[in-house]
């Protein structure tokens, strides 16, 4: 199975990074989350209800819709905050990328650990720009708002191609497909990673390190 990979690029001002990332990540997760599964006898299951919430951005002329789940929002905000800190700390030109990867777990026999097989990866490339005055910032607010709108349309276009989605799991396998840790919604299993491009153009990759760690772990 080939993993579907999509790349979105945005140029934002420093204080817009958080909201731009949240807008795109939440838009993707809105489409990749279902209600909580409740398995019953005879293999039947029912699905809970997903609520939605409009979020106005403070630094961008944009409103996005996210799943009504404070738990999920906290997790995403934490990841975005780490990404932003990393962008600020390293001697970068303000370039980096954050990836949202949906995967399935495949049980392996002992002593091998479970395999994580990605089936969809969204990469958001960010370029942070510095603006000189308030007028430019105002223009940037509107321009970034329009750009994010285009990105949302791109996301929706990809999702509505109805390409591969993991099969609905039985009760014993639900944790291999979905993240069942949240109380109110159930997104597909996902992980968020980021890379920062430093001023020399080389990428300080956290995913590479993790890959190596995973391979060596037995």
């Amino acid at each position: 199975m080939n993993c579907r990979s999509e790349v979105l690029e945005v140029s934002v001002e420093g204080r817009q990074v958080d909201e731009a990332m949240l807008a795109l990540l939440h838009t993707i997760l809105l489409h990749r989350s279902t209600g909580k599964f409740h398995y019953k006898k005879e293999g039947t299951y029912s699905i809970g209800t997903v609520g939605t919430q409009d979020i106005d951005c403070d630094f961008i002329d944009f409103t996005f819709v996210r799943v009504s789940s404070d738990e999920l929002d906290r997790v995403i905000r934490k990841a975005v905050a780490e990404f932003k800190d990393a962008l600020n700390i390293t001697g970068s030109d303000g370039m980096g990328q954050i990836s949202l990867e949906f995967y399935q777990k495949k049980k392996s026999r002992w002593p091998f650990s479970d395999e994580c097989i990605p089936w969809e990866v969204w990469t958001i490339k960010v370029n942070v720009v510095n603006l000189a005055n308030e007028q430019e910032r105002q223009i940037c607010r509107e321009k970034v708002g329009e750009k994010l709108g285009e990105k949302v349309i791109n996301v929706v276009e990809v999702i509505n191609r109805h390409e591969y989605l993991p099969k609905m799991p039985t009760q014993s396998e639900v944790d291999n497909v979905f993240d069942t840790s949240l109380k109110d919604v159930q997104p597909y299993l996902y992980k968020i990673t980021y890379q920062i491009t430093d001023s020399l153009g080389t990428s300080v990759s956290t995913t590479m390190r993790r890959l190596i760690k995973d391979t060596l772990a037995l």
Binding site: T44, S46, V50, G51, D54, I153, V156, N160, M168
Partner: protein, 523 residues
Amino acid sequence: MYVLMQAYAMMESDLSPQDKKDLDKFIKFFALKTVQVIVQARLGEKICTRSSSSPTGSDWFNLAIKDIPEVTHEAKKALAGQLPGIGRSMCVEISLKTSEGDSMELETWCLEMNEKCDKDIKVSYTVYNRLSLLLKSLLAITRVTPAYKLSRKQGHDYVILYRIYFGEVQLAGLGEGFQTVRVGIVGTPTGTITLSCAYRTNLAFMSTRQFERAAPIMGIIIDHFVERPFGNVGHMHPCNYRAPGEEEGGAFAGVEDSQEVCTTSFSTSPPSQLYTSRLSYQPPALGAAELCHPGTCTAAHPHQMVAPGKEGGVPQVPMQPCHGAQADHGHVSSCPTGDATHHIPATPPSSGEDAEALSRSSEVKSTSPSDPLDATFTRKVGAFVNKPTTQVTTAGLDLPFAAFAPRAYELEENDPMVHPPDSPATSSPLQGSLHSQASSDNGGQTQEDFVMVDFKPAFSKDDLLPMDLGTFYREFQNPPQLASLSIDVSTQSMAEDLDSLPEKLAIYEKNIDEFDAFVDTLQ
């Protein structure tokens, strides 16, 4: 035409009757929910609905989308018992109308169907889930088109209106160069459903003459307002909602839940087990609370072959609710719910609706969720009246459209925010003048529309000192003007200055050498 009909008949025969019935139901409710999402996105307010881990049976497509009764009513009227199909599109037109009477179509959302069929697709599972995904996409896209920002700013200057029509798509009113965005598509055995939006890019105003055109399909306006200052809006409906008899804020009391219980239960087990469970399911008596949870219903699809673990899980379509059929006939009945807080009157379902054996005794009602969903679905008084702020009262002020806010005005008399008995300082000059007027009346007189309250500043005790804070405040509210600022004094001194000017100039000329010497020392 004959060939098409034949092909259509063949397609129909490939679909089992139960699947066909389910598909029609899904398309119908998808159309209704689509209209709700679009209109609610143009109300001008942020929408918020709560997630619920337990299915309530009234949330179609597993999404918490509220139903505004008026919008559902208009949508059903437009559909008139038909479903969107090939050549029959359902359209929601969003337009803007200014207070001067200029109007402009902003966008048209189209729910269409084409002939491309996907015969292999499983109706009750895959189609259902893809329709759910499409609704989520619609939620996202409705916030992205230009009309969203306009709708968030609607108020005194303009309002956003909606119109639902069925039939051929009309895009001529969008002007030249309109853009189209496709929200998504879902293939079904009878055709492919497509949802798209065409939106205007040229925002120059049209003349009112262009607004008069062929008679619309829909006629009656449901008037929320006492008067309509925007003149003849004909067939359009304002994109704001205020349930009659409601108080400001609070829960979304006017919500009408879906008239049919929706599919919320799915299965990963083989059909034989389901069939057995259906036969063994003993429907309890009418009104039992357990019935309200459709998750326990196991109306099976004995014809579907499903193996566990596959993507096509068999959904549990619940017992056929009689009021679903009633809704089809345009007659809405509210069934008794287990939730007393919503005060829905218990009305028995009308007879002779469905032939299904289990429909009568095992009626699953559309329940309001026992937890009132905390929708922060705030409503406006009207498009032309801003919700009264704490600083301004409509009484006695010359506000435009003040006649539209009789309810809010009544509430304001007792609103502690407007008549704060305890505030020591005023937050606005207007409120300040109200207070000073009240205090100067010595607490004895009552103004026409105000409740007279003694001025009691916070944190002050009036028992020990002869002059308390309140008295001090009252006495020093109107201090005398400063002498230097009084006009008489200034005019007098200026006249004197002018008179003495020639003398002063003569003195300076005499001492000019001294001045020059002084300047030299500075250099």
